[in-house]
Symmetry: D2
Subunit: 291 residues, 4 copies
Amino acid sequence: MELGLIGLGKMGGNMRERIRRAGHTVIGYDRNPDLADAASLQELVTKLQGPRVVWVMVPAGAATQATVEELAELLSPGDVVVDGGNSRWTDDIAHAELLAAKGIGFVDCGVSGGVWGLENGYALMYGGGAEHVLKVQPIFDALKPEGEFGSVHAGKVGAGHFAKMVHNGIEYAMMQAFAEGWELLEASDAVTDVREVFRSWQEGTVIKSWLLDLAVRALDGDEHLDKLRGYAQDSGEGRWTVEAAIDHAVPLPAITASLFARFASRQDDSPQMKMIAALRNQFGGHAVESK
Amino acid sequence: MELGLIGLGKMGGNMRERIRRAGHTVIGYDRNPDLADAASLQELVTKLQGPRVVWVMVPAGAATQATVEELAELLSPGDVVVDGGNSRWTDDIAHAELLAAKGIGFVDCGVSGGVWGLENGYALMYGGGAEHVLKVQPIFDALKPEGEFGSVHAGKVGAGHFAKMVHNGIEYAMMQAFAEGWELLEASDAVTDVREVFRSWQEGTVIKSWLLDLAVRALDGDEHLDKLRGYAQDSGEGRWTVEAAIDHAVPLPAITASLFARFASRQDDSPQMKMIAALRNQFGGHAVESK
Amino acid sequence: MELGLIGLGKMGGNMRERIRRAGHTVIGYDRNPDLADAASLQELVTKLQGPRVVWVMVPAGAATQATVEELAELLSPGDVVVDGGNSRWTDDIAHAELLAAKGIGFVDCGVSGGVWGLENGYALMYGGGAEHVLKVQPIFDALKPEGEFGSVHAGKVGAGHFAKMVHNGIEYAMMQAFAEGWELLEASDAVTDVREVFRSWQEGTVIKSWLLDLAVRALDGDEHLDKLRGYAQDSGEGRWTVEAAIDHAVPLPAITASLFARFASRQDDSPQMKMIAALRNQFGGHAVESK
Amino acid sequence: MELGLIGLGKMGGNMRERIRRAGHTVIGYDRNPDLADAASLQELVTKLQGPRVVWVMVPAGAATQATVEELAELLSPGDVVVDGGNSRWTDDIAHAELLAAKGIGFVDCGVSGGVWGLENGYALMYGGGAEHVLKVQPIFDALKPEGEFGSVHAGKVGAGHFAKMVHNGIEYAMMQAFAEGWELLEASDAVTDVREVFRSWQEGTVIKSWLLDLAVRALDGDEHLDKLRGYAQDSGEGRWTVEAAIDHAVPLPAITASLFARFASRQDDSPQMKMIAALRNQFGGHAVESK
């Protein structure tokens, strides 16, 4: 089938390649003309035969918003827009309504896979009406990993991004779990080969996982991670996961702790710990470290 | 080779079977004579040719302590005792010293595998002097999973149980990660098929793992876990992990949150939340729920 | 001076009384005509001489929104609206803009005091332009506690509610601190009189505080809080505090833990702990508690 | 009455002064002869008329252990030893037994007050048999703050240090509460005068407390705490509080978060966050910060 694909960056470019390998036709658009197959969204739409499927793969927020609005003007009733970016699930409802007013369908799709997706396939979680999902299905099948798993129609509009968001929240806490365990092993006097302990865990344990494999890969490159700073960004989904939990009054202690650990990792000095130091000094005459 | 194995319960019994399948001779002892190959520790020791290797697989604490003390009297210089139970790593040092005074070697070994170990092999983490480990190596090789991973000489005496303890701490937080994510998905209005979302994650995602596979198995048996109470024991290693972290001044927020969630799950009512309710009532006249 | 006061519930009614005791004239409006001095907002506005100050003390969200919109139609340039309810600080900006378009000033004011406010005064945190604050100052002075503390011009529009929100976040964690300590003391075998320990802390300690005094009051009425359920509502500000922290990438582990403890307290059974139980059963054959 | 006081450092020296001001006789001993009234423990014991009360105020652990052992040899049946240091409550049982074998009584006493104690009095929490407490009562009365609060017979041997330990745990979380709130206020664009917000909270709020007063004092000296590093020691009691909670299966999320925040504050770089950075780089090609 034919697909219009908007956004040909690191993710979008690889996805175009994987979809083409599956035998589909992809007309790609990107602001960078060196990457693009069409010179404009207008041209991209013109090049596709209806009913069209157009996959948006641009940064969440303003860029996605502008693209959806432009597509609402350019597309025709019966076409479908897929938002495969990292949009917040709450944005999906508005986008679906905007497009529905023009008779255009909307499917939101959370995509996981990173740099491994081109070869191994992308995990896909999508939400929307069955009739719209059906039109995109061949593309989902091309992108997903081989085998019986890796893609799911998770529910209504928003469900795809919601599921992907929760996936990332879980990922935060799993990473934190390995990170905490690794730090504790490194602090032990008895354990003399932490890397080999991690390596051994790859078989026969309860914690065997792809993240563990990646940890071993990382330690093979830098046994004590001496080359790195303990500094971690967060990508939005972790924050939204906690906010969704607050909305639903669901306690998320481990995921939230993982998010806060990232926040703290980016502070050169901790304002709150200055206050702790100041209070200890006030009541106990405890020595403080001055700058 | 020959192995003396003390403790033939759920774990020990299956381990005897796996070792025998590998062609070794196991003389087993258990307080339950129906399970035992020897009528007493004395007889077990007599039946083994020296230098002997005796594997202790009894409950941590008093039972292990008593068994090690009895073996110190029964065994000979050059023999080796392996503690494969869930002992605290701090006990290992004392056991090694007690046995070393008699010329007997000591190796501590953390064993992971649960009900899956007999068929899939047991993950093993062991600590002790190389000369003692060498004598046990054929048994380790019989117990471990096939393939290149699954066993490790983690370091000095205590390192095996320390590594296993940290493994369990990581396991706590990974389980908590999936549990939090599952609860949040179940709370969502948009996501209509949480089980299928979990199932799909088994390929192509960052969080693919054996625990995820087990979660899918559990959900296949009981889609919303309606048959279960939200009640979870903890087994000791989680507590020790936090205590070890405190000893080393290592922050473990996610693992500790996971432990505390288990504590709270076992309370019929929360005393601390009674105090919160009482305080809210005091300053704000907020309604409280009385019994 | 004259004040229009909208909302004469538990808080508003007491505030009217305290303002009147200070010698000011209050025209109150409430949907309940038994409480009201004016039959409508229209009448309330008519009864006040300009430039008017109208204090809104109705539930945050839709009710406050509707009231502000109605006042925007009824009031005149030079008048000032104060929002003294528990509005989210993000709403204040919109309200200020809506009113500014009509030449009407806006001040947001967080009010603390609960059932003690009438006699002891209300702590006030307000935000807005100095020229608008100036017009409300006599009312602030009437409401605040005696002495040099208890009211503050915290900053721009929104600063009052932001400061009040943070106050409540701190309050959550302080309450949680006492609650955790109390539960631990109650669990001790050695400590035989927990209530007297709390009582003694009211002098000479680092933790002496009004909340401690309230805890002692509560324990005097019900020594082990046997009459209460461990069940605590949360009022919105705690959630907003965490969301504000996420917006600013500020780690708030203790405040967030306090919020999550309240969420958990309201669950009859914990879905996430069902998943923990299910996973333990899957890999270890651990007994689970079935319903 | 007469008191023997061992340890005349910052705390002990001020306590001697406060006890003397109350009209009692204090014979003090310290390793530093410039501070001491007696040249040795032997001389101190000789100078006191029986039945003697000897207050030990030396560092917890080895120093207290050695002192108690020496006193067990020097004192007579009917004498009482008070351990007023920061001993772990679990040590108290052993000390009481050691002394009881010689007919000597033992009382453990947690002391709070810091640099303010000399003038304001020390909060005292003590544990032990009523007959031993009775002999020390005049000293407790001299040390405690004026008024009806500030001292408590908390229970059996160990109860005093247990109560003091929990006090410090609560203190950790209260300090953390103010610290988190302060950091969030400082991060706000709307709130322009955080110090004045803190100052205002000293009256009329739910969070008014001595710690808040101290925070204002600290901010008056250094408005944004620019002179301090965000670095905080922990003193032992916080760790013991968490360990006691683990022993009793009591969840302490806020107190533990406060302890972990201090651990993290003392790390130049976070090993666990290096692992997070490494994993993000592995699966996503995310940029990492190298040293």
